[in-house]
């Protein structure tokens, strides 16, 4: 089940989340993301502008890739479970790139009936190069 529920007790340290493989990046998605996010930097839309800026062509908004990473977490743990997500944008995402988001449980803690799982998260392109790296905290229900 895609939008499954994960219980705190069922997630050991070292467990990996279900990888999320996104569709190849297309210009229309960057245009849509610009409209949805309000980030109209032409460097994500206009190839000539991006080349003149020394970037070798259009590349995706970092925030789009971060959105993919957030989706990988909520697909796995459910909507509304993410408490913290922090990332570094480690590489540019280009048109036609296929991004896969992954994550691994680093630690677990429980306090006052709140059950938190800390994860290492990352997104990589089709060459296996990491384009986003970071950490996330999700709150999971307990079988308690």
């Amino acid at each position: 089940m895609k939008y499954g529920k994960v219980y705190f007790e069922d997630v050991p340290v070292g467990a990996e989340i279900t990888p999320l493989v996104k569709a190849p990046i297309r210009q229309i998605q960057l245009t849509r993301y610009a409209g949805a996010s309000g980030d109209f930097n032409p460097i994500h839309q206009d190839d000539e502008f991006a080349r003149a800026a020394g970037m070798g062509g259009v590349f995706a908004h970092g925030m789009l890739s971060m959105g993919f990473v957030a989706q990988s977490l909520t697909d796995w743990a459910g909507a509304g479970t993410v408490r913290k997500l922090g990332v570094r944008f480690a590489g540019l995402v280009r048109l036609k790139d296929v991004i896969t988001c992954r994550g691994r449980v680093l630690s677990k803690s429980s306090k006052d009936d709140v059950h938190l799982v800390e994860l290492e998260v990352w997104a990589e392109n089709q060459k296996g190069e990491k384009v986003v790296t970071g950490k996330a905290t999700v709150a999971l229900p307990s079988r308690g």
Binding site: R32, S37, N41, G54, G67, A70, V82, L85, G86, F89
Partner: protein, 151 residues
């Protein structure tokens, strides 16, 4: 010849601005990411959920902007052109859910600017924070953004 960045804006707070979350904006944002989660997109699923309505995806607050202000204000303050910007880092802390129809107050400030030599030359890192509070003045989201300026 590297450009100079205006470091005088460290500590600057921008005027607080209110954002009312529109249902359609949540859905546009989720669809732009390609995230079909029904808790964002399906009002029936949202009504039956613990929140009583759809909620926004975790990174939605990045779309919050002061619509009455000039979007180039920070760039002008820094004295740089948009073509020099890269997104370095981004962090969200979520204390609750952003919901449609609710109005939030956003406060943004520049917390730090530092320079480093990067692979492709000198760079400045501009650290900005935004706090999003609800009607009861509870912090719902805090956002920390590091923008890289190629000098």
């Amino acid at each position: 010849m590297p450009i100079q960045i205006n470091r005088d804006i460290v500590g600057k707070e921008y005027p607080p601005f209110a954002v009312t979350v529109e249902r359609g904006r949540i859905k546009d944002f989720a669809r732009a990411i390609g995230d079909a989660n029904p808790f964002y997109l399906d009002d029936t699923v949202g009504r039956a959920s613990e929140w009583g309505d759809v909620i926004a995806p975790p990174t939605f607050a990045v779309s919050f902007r002061d619509e009455s202000a000039d979007s180039g204000a920070m760039l002008r303050d820094l004295g740089v052109d948009v073509s020099r910007l890269l997104h370095g880092e981004q962090e969200f802390e979520l204390h609750g859910q952003l919901r449609p129809g609710e109005t939030y107050l956003c406060r943004t400030r520049i917390v730090d600017i530092y320079e480093k030599a990067g692979r492709s030359g000198p760079m400045a890192f501009v650290v900005r924070e935004m706090a999003v509070t609800d009607r009861d003045n509870h912090v719902v989201v805090t956002m920390r953004q590091v923008t890289v300026v190629r000098l």
